[in-house]
Symmetry: C2
Subunit: 264 residues, 2 copies
């Protein structure tokens, strides 16, 4: 038993898709979330900058006495997960391996698509992880630089969103039977993505898969929170305006939260 | 990547239910299995003896250069998992936490049954783990001392087996909606158990659940076996006669294996 919170970090609001899944699967766990909205999206930034910003969030979470850190951002996972995991004494999870592993189990044709930010696609981490586990898989990666900004600006249901998703995903349609939503922002665009790709394509939400792994690791390291404790008090921080964050977060998660501003 | 084998240990043949699931879910992994058939079942033995015997198997597996150890025996897990895990530098998994965790997710009524050996039931480890994770659950434990010997003597489909299962489980019928098969031998009696408990009762195979956790931990520790390696060569050892082991093992797993005798 360990009643300390779990720390989640993301470049912006995308990591909330993982938090939403936490509320569903592990409601007893306490969460501290930080989104670096002031500097989102991370996708187009150089690796060294992503590394620096991510470490700043990690260091903030460590001051909050977290028992585990979840890098709820594919871009940051691709660039710096391994380094952070090796340097900290608490468990550190990324979102890429759980997504890659789930896609391998899901595909029937061996043709897996991955959509992500420019940095995630450029790093080729998904292809690397998938083909290490299963060299026979074919992986089609596609960079979707416009998706995360649409979510960050809360335009998920706009006609612009539909047009952008339709045009961006066109090269993948009909080519894969499984598509990894390789950015934690993308589940907020899920209905449009599913519509464009076709109902038979299995969409893998890397964030939701990650929560299952969090559950296994909480058990393995015996650091679950005791349910007899008082109700979990979650904390949300953003480097930008709490108002904008709160609006998207409450809409997406269907619950009221308090959001504080933080400078890193 | 880590191409070394995973070590499995059990008091006898029960742990093969976990190995069978490994072949299904993680066929690329190489397995070294040891069953202490000469001294099975462990269930009625005193804790100190179970501890001693289990450590003997662990030490044998360590000489085989394994990358992970799976205690594929509920009794040994209940008595000595924590100690072994704390003392080794490689990951060590037991079968109890995965089963407990799966049962909590499965139950609708909050009434969970656990069947196991006398030692597993006496240790109350399942109740302890379940109620730590979810204090609101009611747990009914039942010792089934005759089940493992039926499996070890390959009498799974006999009329004696049916009678014993029927009589033993009677106190649980109608009282739980989820039943943990809290001994890795019991999945070999699954059709009879399901029939006695009723089709609506969800049977939790702690061994099968464990394989999912193995998969997550292989990913987390980045010690998956490279699939480009030559085909996995599995090794099976028993402290008793290889003939008897081989007979049950091949029948249960539906594949030919070689079995060697080993003295501990």
């Amino acid at each position: 038993m360990d009643n300390r919170p779990i720390g989640f970090l993301d470049s912006g609001v995308g990591g909330l898709t993982v938090v939403k899944e936490m509320f569903k699967q592990l409601p007893e766990e306490e969460i501290i979330f930080i989104g670096d909205q002031a500097r989102a999206p991370y996708g187009p930034r150089p690796a060294e900058q992503i590394r620096e910003y991510t470490w700043q969030m990690v260091n903030f979470l460590l001051t909050q006495n977290v028992k585990m850190i979840v890098i709820a951002c594919n871009t940051a996972t691709a660039v710096v997960w391994k380094e952070i995991k090796e340097q900290l004494s608490i468990p550190v999870l990324g979102v890429i391996l759980p997504g890659a592993s789930a896609a391998i189990k899901s595909t029937q044709t061996g043709k897996i698509g991955v959509i992500g930010t420019p940095m995630t696609v450029k790093s080729d981490t998904y292809r690397d992880k998938i083909q290490r586990l299963a060299p026979e898989m074919e992986v089609e990666s596609l960079s979707c630089p416009k998706f995360a900004p649409i979510v960050e600006s809360n335009q998920m249901t706009s006609s612009v969103a539909k047009k952008v998703v339709y045009e961006t995903l066109a090269p993948l349609v009909g080519k894969v039977d499984t598509l990894i939503l390789g950015c934690t922002h993308y589940p907020l665009l899920r209905p449009i993505i599913q519509n464009v790709m076709g109902q038979s394509v299995k969409l893998i939400d890397s964030g939701a898969e990650t929560v299952h792994d969090i559950s296994v690791l909480l058990n393995y390291f015996e650091i679950n929170r005791n349910r007899k404790q008082k109700e979990a008090q979650h904390h949300f921080y953003t480097t930008a305006s709490p108002k904008g964050f709160k609006e998207i977060a409450e809409q997406w998660m269907g619950r009221k939260i308090t959001v504080e501003h933080i400078d890193l």
